[in-house]
């Protein structure tokens, strides 16, 4: 790292000490920052790639502008070597602001690899043709940057900022076709809901920061309990958070729930998914949701680890009046999946249907969150990580087919999918596989993901978890109805024309890739889950 050596050489230069802080800066902070920069390579590379693409677009003629996609893919692949290099390390960076550990690295790799299908689909999508794509790829890569930061934040400040970077980029991407009525409306609704969630979350952060005195995410578990502060009280061998801290927890959770489109902040999802460009919808449904779950896992994982400094042994924190936060999660999970599945039953637009489906899947993923900190065969983090990869394969696959069909038919209404079985047999077949994966039918990735979630819940036991398992099983059966409706429309209903639908080669590559991932995840699930254990997903 040539550049860093130069910077370190600067340390030895004589500096005129005029202000009292300079020596302290030179001796403590400067080395810490330079040392941390070594590990910050991947994010830096993504940011540099984003800016380079923006500048390149200034000199490229417009017909080559769409080929910036290859530069963007390169910008997503190059940081992977940096992630691989420091994979096993667990280090706190930039004086406690970020952390680099295998958990963060997993999610960073997930975001980088997951953006590649999005970039390919942007290249393929006909609606994006004929424009200058520099700004588009800049904002896309910036949102990946924000997501990567979210995965490794350990301080409320970096968490808030990175979440806002991802959110602002998403607002712009959703409103990318600003001259369409639906697009503008979707962007408007998204930014209003998003800003409300950001304000609520910020209020929660301020209460949390003030009450615990530290901005670190795991501060509640690590702050030393002292009688006169009573951040939490000790009652019956449990640590109970004070009322204000409980409110802070709820406010912060509401902010995170917006990001993953769970109740109570799910209202934006159907409108935004329908009005945004389909590529952006695919991006939001997978990458944005995964980023939300990454921070939720870190936040709740911090609560699950034992509280230090309490006299009779270590214990995990409960909310005010002994309410277990896992119970709240179970309730929200049941409500979310039920609402998502019920509302999807009468949707006629594929994108809107996928929006409610993604709300329902957020509900299933919350099941994994509710088993955090309990001793099961595969921990909550592992099952969520696995399900997120499976979810990536199903959702990107379904949206890839939707984009390829939209390229020719210019519509996402199920009406226009009639007879697709004859007009585009490969696409229809692939979509059917992804539908089975979304329902959770073997031998697909979706089945394996749901299987491990169910196993985790049943392992924990106790009536709330059994209730959750029953609700999830019923919801899975319910979801089969509207997913299979798509297959029925494609195969058993006659459309208006019989003309074959051509699809681009790159689009088919994406679909084939997702198909491969679907089956691979199903058959190699156990080995994948064991490797995630090595990634330190112990909670």
């Amino acid at each position: 790292m040539h550049l860093l050596n130069h910077l370190q050489a600067l340390l030895t230069l004589p500096v005129a000490v005029t202000a009292p802080g300079v020596e302290q800066f030179r001796d403590t902070f400067y080395p810490a920052i330079i040392d941390s920069l070594k590990y910050f390579g991947p994010e830096t590379q993504v940011a540099v790639a984003a800016i380079a693409i923006l500048l390149l677009d200034l000199v490229l003629p417009i017909q080559f502008s769409k080929h910036l996609a290859w530069a963007a893919i390169l910008g997503c692949l190059a940081p992977l070597s940096g992630i691989g290099h420091y994979y096993e390390d667990s280090k706190s960076l930039f004086l406690g602001m970020l952390v680099i550990d295998p958990f963060a690295n997993f999610f960073k790799a997930f975001f980088l690899l997951g953006s590649i299908p999005v970039i390919m689909l942007s290249f393929v999508s006909r609606k994006l043709e004929g424009r200058r794509m520099g700004e588009y790829y800049f904002i896309l890569l910036s949102s990946v940057f924000g997501a990567m930061l979210m995965a490794s934040s350990t301080h409320f400040l970096t968490l808030f900022l990175s979440l806002e970077i991802l959110s602002v980029c998403s607002y712009i991407l959703v409103g990318y076709f600003r001259t369409e009525r639906k697009g503008a409306e979707a962007a408007l609704k998204y930014i209003i809901y998003g800003s409300i969630a950001a304000a609520i979350m910020g209020y929660g952060f301020s209460l949390w920061y003030g009450m615990t005195g530290s901005g670190e995410i795991s501060s509640l578990a690590r702050v030393f309990w002292s009688p006169e502060h009573e951040i939490y009280t000790e009652r019956n061998q449990q640590a109970l958070a004070a009322l204000t801290v409980t409110f802070a927890f709820l406010f912060v959770f509401v902010g995170f729930a917006y990001k993953i489109a769970a109740i109570p902040m799910h209202f934006w999802a159907p409108d935004v998914y329908e009005g945004a460009p389909t590529v952006v919808t695919a991006f939001l449904s997978v990458i944005s949701k995964a980023a939300g779950f990454a921070i939720l896992l870190r936040f709740l994982g911090g609560l699950s680890s034992s509280v230090s400094g309490l006299a009779p042994g270590d214990m995990a924190v409960k909310l005010w009046a002994g309410v277990d936060w896992r119970l709240i999660l179970i309730v929200i999970s049941i409500l979310t999946m039920t609402l998502g599945n019920l509302a999807a039953l009468w949707q006629t637009n594929l994108k809107r249907l996928m929006a409610y489906s993604s709300i329902a899947h957020a509900g299933y993923l919350l099941m994994g969150l509710s088993i955090l900190g309990t001793a099961t065969r595969y921990t909550g983090t592992q099952t969520i990580a696995f399900y997120l990869v499976a979810y990536l394969s199903m959702n990107f696959g379904a949206f890839a087919v939707a984009i390829l069909v939209e390229n020719r038919l210019n519509s996402s209404e199920l009406e226009d999918y009639k007879g697709l079985g004859r007009r585009a047999p490969f696409l229809a077949g692939a979509l059917t596989v992804f539908i089975f994966s979304l329902i959770g039918v073997p031998p697909t990735a979706g089945f394996m993901g749901k299987f491990h979630l169910f196993m985790g819940i049943i392992d924990v036991g106790g009536w709330p978890y059994y209730l959750l398992a029953i609700a999830a099983a019923m919801n899975t059966a319910l979801s089969a109805y509207y997913y299979l409706k798509i297959a029925r429309v494609m195969y058993f209903e006659k459309g208006s024309s019989l003309e074959l639908i051509q699809s681009s080669a790159l689009g088919r590559v994406v679909v084939v890739g997702m198909l491969f991932l679907t089956f691979y995840l199903c058959f190699c699930a156990d080995s994948i889950l064991k490797t995630t254990l090595n990634l330190g997903m112990h909670v």
Binding site: I139, T179, E230
Partner: protein, 210 residues
């Protein structure tokens, strides 16, 4: 003395916020919003955050509010376009919800021993290092040492916001051959304007086309 001023400005800022939220005309709302920002800035001064007080005035009252006023001026909404009809049930429900929110937060604050044990916030700070806590130099040191990372990330955020704002408001080049009268807001052709306004007010439309 400090406490007395804080009480007055605190109560006035609540009143100003309530006025912002209830005025029908957004221009009146922005006037009260300026007042609100200035009162909050006074609060920061008393709470030993002089740098933030100045920044509050510069950024909120000086930049964000000006942005709001520009947009309001560009839109040039008429009396009829400003008419809102929110049902009283919705207002009642929202009122109950926000009052309930305040009640819950107040309950939590009153119950908390941490908050109760904090001393007088208006008391003078004795130690000389702590007395310089909120001033520019202290913030600068924090911003460039402990929190340097956040400072760098905010630059990416602002860059993205700038780009997004420019992209979203860039006018598309005219594709229609017929000349269309566009106002500052870059409204689309007259036909579309006519379509939207015909049911509402025919007389105004006549005046605009003439």
């Amino acid at each position: 003395m400090d406490a007395f001023v804080f009480y007055i400005s605190g109560v006035l800022s609540v009143v100003a916020a309530a006025l912002v939220v209830t005025r029908k005309n957004p221009v009146h709302g922005t006037i009260y919003l300026v007042l609100f920002f200035l009162l909050v800035s006074l609060d920061y001064l008393i709470l030993r955050a002089p740098f933030l007080a100045i920044i509050q005035v510069l950024v909120y009252a000086g930049a964000i509010l000006v942005l709001f006023l520009f947009v309001i001026m560009l839109l040039n909404l008429s009396e009829e376009e400003l008419r809102e009809s929110t049902s009283t049930t919705r207002k009642g429900f929202a009122g109950i919800l926000s009052a309930g929110l305040f009640g819950l937060l107040s309950w939590g604050i009153l119950r908390s021993p941490t908050v109760r044990n904090m001393g007088d916030l208006a008391a003078p700070v004795t130690s000389p290092t702590l007395a310089k806590a909120g001033e520019t130099e202290a913030i600068g040191q924090a911003l460039f040492t402990t929190h340097a990372l956040a400072f760098e990330f905010s630059s990416i955020l602002i860059l993205v916001a700038i780009l997004g704002a420019i992209y979203l408001t860039k006018k598309r080049k005219q594709t229609s051959s017929a000349p269309s009268q566009t106002s500052l807001t870059g409204l689309e052709s007259q036909e579309e304007a006519g379509q939207k306004h015909a049911p509402a007010d025919g007389a105004r439309l006549e005046k605009r086309l003439a």
